[in-house]
Subunit: 143 residues, 2 copies
DNA sequence: CACCCAATCTTCATCACTTGTTCGTTCGCA
DNA sequence: TGCGAACGAACAAGTGATGAAGATTGGGTG
């Protein structure tokens, strides 16, 4: 995701208006590596723009996704996660607390064609490393 | 997943009763490679046991999962998928129609520890190959 | 073979997440 | 500054999955 200023420009270019709500979402997402859910973004944004509705947050997040500024992730944690990091990378998902972390691994050796794939056209291989983060390490497993 | 007969034995061993509903679910899942959703199982089972409730199907599927007889998959297709194949394997997911296919690839080379993982303990690396199946190959993309 | 109790099934309700709709308000360019 | 298009807020719907409770049934027992 680009900087909030660049996003302002980009939104204007696409005929989208710049509202305090949008600015606030831009600001909250900038540098956020926590892979927040819509609700988490909503709570963070509410501190800057009291009274904003969850619906509006969803709208803005979907707009950002459509512009390719953020990535939409369904990692099976019960809610969709949003990732301002749109570079090629993969994710660690903690079964204990549901937290998500980026991980950079070289998958160039990963086959995406061959007998096993038949005529299926692989476009986006995705790796989800499920396990336990440090704080959930020893604990038994309810999310 | 074992054979329906073996499942009957296994359920009895666990103090679970054998009902027509359970037999029907066993039968439907046997050899099923379509990775059905709960609703798909429900529809298939309804042909054998008219009047069965969706709630009961969910219950039986969860029991099978707890016994480790089937795998529960959240592949981001909107609903949970159930897989009688519990061997180590991965999945092709079609962005077009949401269909799922098994794929056997050697992932022994896939790292699960190292600097990139820090103190995160990877237990189940999961690979989802997203792309297009044959019939959706050329078509544009609504699911 | 009928009985009985726990287990199970069905029905209804609830919950969490996400999106559709409507209407008053606001943006932003002229 | 003003106007039209776009937006935000409130409300409600919709989907997938689970919780609760009363009616029913499996299957060992007398």
């Amino acid at each position: 995701m680009r900087s909030p200023d660049a996003l302002v420009t980009r939104f204007r270019e696409h005929g989208l208006k710049i509202t305090p709500q949008r600015r606030a979402v831009f600001g909250v997402l900038e540098g956020d590596e926590s892979h927040p859910s819509a609700d988490a973004v909503f709570r963070a944004v509410s501190a800057r723009v009291p009274g904003i509705s969850l619906r509006t947050v969803y709208q803005i997040l979907n707009e950002l996704a459509e512009l390719g500024e953020i990535q939409v992730l369904d990692l099976g944690t019960g809610s969709i996660r949003f990732d301002p990091n749109v570079d090629d990378h993969h994710h660690l998902v903690c079964d204990g607390c549901g937290s998500v972390r980026d991980v950079n691994v070289d998958l160039s050796g990963l086959a995406t064609t061959g007998d096993a794939f038949g005529d299926f056209l692989v476009e986006r291989p995705q790796v989800i490393y499920r396990g336990r983060c440090r704080s959930c390490g020893a604990l038994p497993g309810a999310r």
